[in-house]
């Protein structure tokens, strides 16, 4: 059952005017947050699309879209209108039903992640005590949508893309999960809200290696450069959504950015102490951190080439997974040995450990793959 804690959230912080004995408070809370999440997500996705295009433009010494509205701020709106007016094409030999459902299956899980993201202290739809587990579970569902899309198109390029995606996401779930467990160990809880409240110093300092692994695997999860193999514009021409147009394509496009937003929000929550911060209101802090993380993602996209599929797999299994395991092990020891942690000692210790481990792995880790005799 979704727990509702009247001490939290709205009532104590944001919209504090609501009395705790408001009639039907559970449904009110639910309804309110559904609206907040949808508005927040859609508005932020628009902002992200604009931000990414402009930011990428500036990284590439050009301007980016600046025609629609002041500073081109309405560009995402114009894009949306354009894309909705396009003809909806279903491949003649495609599987129509699956083709129709695929965008929904891909989009819904991305949106569902936001149910457990705390925007402020307690301001979240459902403060699940297994919040982070829920996120891991839900976010991996969208790969089904991607595969459905690729399968239903009856197109070889999209099938290659989907095969890559499935392999990729399944592999990267593992280091991703392990790096989260490190955070959960220190926080002593799986609830997103409690993870934030227990961050007196951001966990990025306590878990630097965990952050690195999470960031990399998250990039792979949401198919961003350098792991955008399933789209790989220059190789397989946008992979799974090659045959999609109109509204359905918009759903995929949206899902991609919702996922990016979700990942930024999760990183903020797990590693950057969520809404916490001095002076500014908590919600603003949350937003600033999300945008910063997203900027890092855009920045990486603007610089780095794509890696190859065999290298991608090798990287997950030979580099990230062992590192994540070692990180987990060390974190476990730290939690047991130092129950009352001396934070700054651990910060420096962990930074040193990260440096040593990364250097060690750089030395010995080799990516297999190369020419295959045929």
């Amino acid at each position: 059952m979704v727990g509702f804690n009247p001490d939290h959230g709205l009532f104590s912080y944001g919209l504090g005017a609501l009395p705790p004995d408001w009639p039907g408070n559970y449904w009110l809370h639910w309804g309110l947050f559904v609206i907040i999440i949808i508005v927040f997500v859609l508005a932020m996705v628009m902002a992200f699309i604009y931000f990414e295009r402009r930011g990428l433009g500036r990284l590439q010494v050009r301007l980016g879209p600046n025609r629609v509205g002041p500073f081109g701020i309405l560009q995402p709106v114009a894009d949306a209108i354009k894309i909705l007016l396009k003809e909806d094409i279903v491949p003649a030999k495609g599987d129509k039903l699956v083709h129709w459902w695929a965008p929904v299956v891909a989009f819904a899980p991305a949106l569902m992640i936001f149910a457990v993201i705390p925007f402020e202290n307690g301001a979240l739809l459902a403060d699940l005590n297994i919040g982070i587990l829920y996120i891991v579970a839900v976010s991996s569902v969208s790969v089904v949508g991607v595969f459905m899309a690729a399968w239903s198109c009856n197109n070889k390029f999209s099938l290659i893309g989907a095969m890559r995606t499935v392999a990729q996401i399944v592999s990267y779930e593992i280091p991703l999960g392990f790096s989260i467990i490190g955070v959960a160990l220190i926080a002593g809880s799986l609830s997103m809200n409690e993870i934030v409240t227990s961050q007196n110093i951001p966990f990025i300092l306590l878990q630097p290696l965990g952050f690195l692994i999470y960031f990399i695997s998250a990039c792979a999860e949401m198919n961003r450069t350098p792991f955008d193999l399933m789209e790989a514009e220059s190789e397989i021409v946008d992979g799974y959504h090659i045959e999609y147009s109109g509204m359905k394509f918009a759903m995929f496009y949206l899902a991609e950015y919702v996922e990016a937003l979700a990942i930024s929000a999760i990183i903020t929550t797990l590693f950057l102490s969520g809404w916490k911060g001095p002076l500014l209101p908590p919600f603003l802090w949350f937003l600033i951190k999300v945008v910063l993380i997203f900027f890092a993602i855009v920045w990486v996209r603007g610089t780095i080439p794509r890696i190859r599929v065999d290298q991608l797999m090798a990287f997950a299994w030979k580099c990230l997974l062992p590192l994540a395991l070692i990180n987990l092990f060390i974190t476990g020891i730290e939690v047991i040995v130092l129950p009352q942690p001396l934070p700054w000692l651990i910060v420096f210790l962990n930074l040193a450990i990260m440096a040593i481990l990364v250097l060690l792995w750089s030395k010995f880790f080799k990516l297999g793959g190369g020419r295959v005799e045929v």
């Binding site: 930011g55 433009g57 500036r58 990284l59 590439q60 010494v61 050009r62 301007l63 920045w299 990486v300 603007g302 610089t303 780095i304 890696i307 290298q311 990287f315 990364v358 250097l359 792995w361 750089s362 880790f365 080799k366 990516l367």
Partner: protein
């Protein structure tokens, strides 16, 4: 992938792209901001000075595509007159050979370049369309006299704001 350099290569690239965030974009905001074309620009039009023309048809013969059509006849005082002078700009490749071939320097290539039309027929320019007028700017291509009167070309290389920023890190 072996991180023999411990990711320094990636870091270097990231630093460079970050640096570019603070450089001035090189984009030209086209319809509002127009660059001055070269003095010798070969735009998408031909300009014909009817008064000087002696109807020798050198231009039509020089054209590699045969898209200039000139029909002449003998006039009253033994002068040749141009009856028909037609250019199909849809087929013209703006190589400028006709302008170079003109012995009387009465044919110019124009600087204008916004010549899109909705119909193909409109691309075929007749005698009247080719005449010299105030709305057309003859270019200095093969016409040194005209060239000297034209303004200097805007070049990315010389763009001030841009170069100032470049200079800072070049020195």
């Amino acid at each position: 992938m072996r991180f023999e350099r411990y990711g320094i290569g990636i870091a270097k690239g990231m630093a460079l792209t970050f640096k570019h965030l603070f450089r001035k974009p090189i984009t030209t905001q086209y319809p509002e901001e127009r660059l001055t074309v070269s003095r010798r620009a070969r735009g998408n039009e031909l300009i014909w000075d009817k008064e000087l023309c002696v109807a020798c048809t050198a231009c039509a013969r020089a054209c590699p595509h045969g898209c200039i059509e000139m029909v002449t006849s003998k006039g009253a005082d033994d002068k040749r007159i141009v009856d028909k002078f037609q250019l199909d700009t849809g087929r013209c490749i703006f190589c400028g050979l006709c302008v170079e071939a003109c012995p009387k320097e009465c044919l110019f290539i124009g600087c204008g370049y916004e010549k899109a039309t909705y119909r193909r027929q409109e691309l075929v320019l007749g005698k009247e369309d080719l005449l010299l007028s105030d709305r057309k700017q003859p270019s200095g291509y093969a016409r040194p006299k005209v060239e000297a009167t034209l303004p200097e070309q805007t070049m990315l290389l010389n763009r001030k704001q841009y170069l100032d920023r470049v200079k800072k890190w070049l020195d």
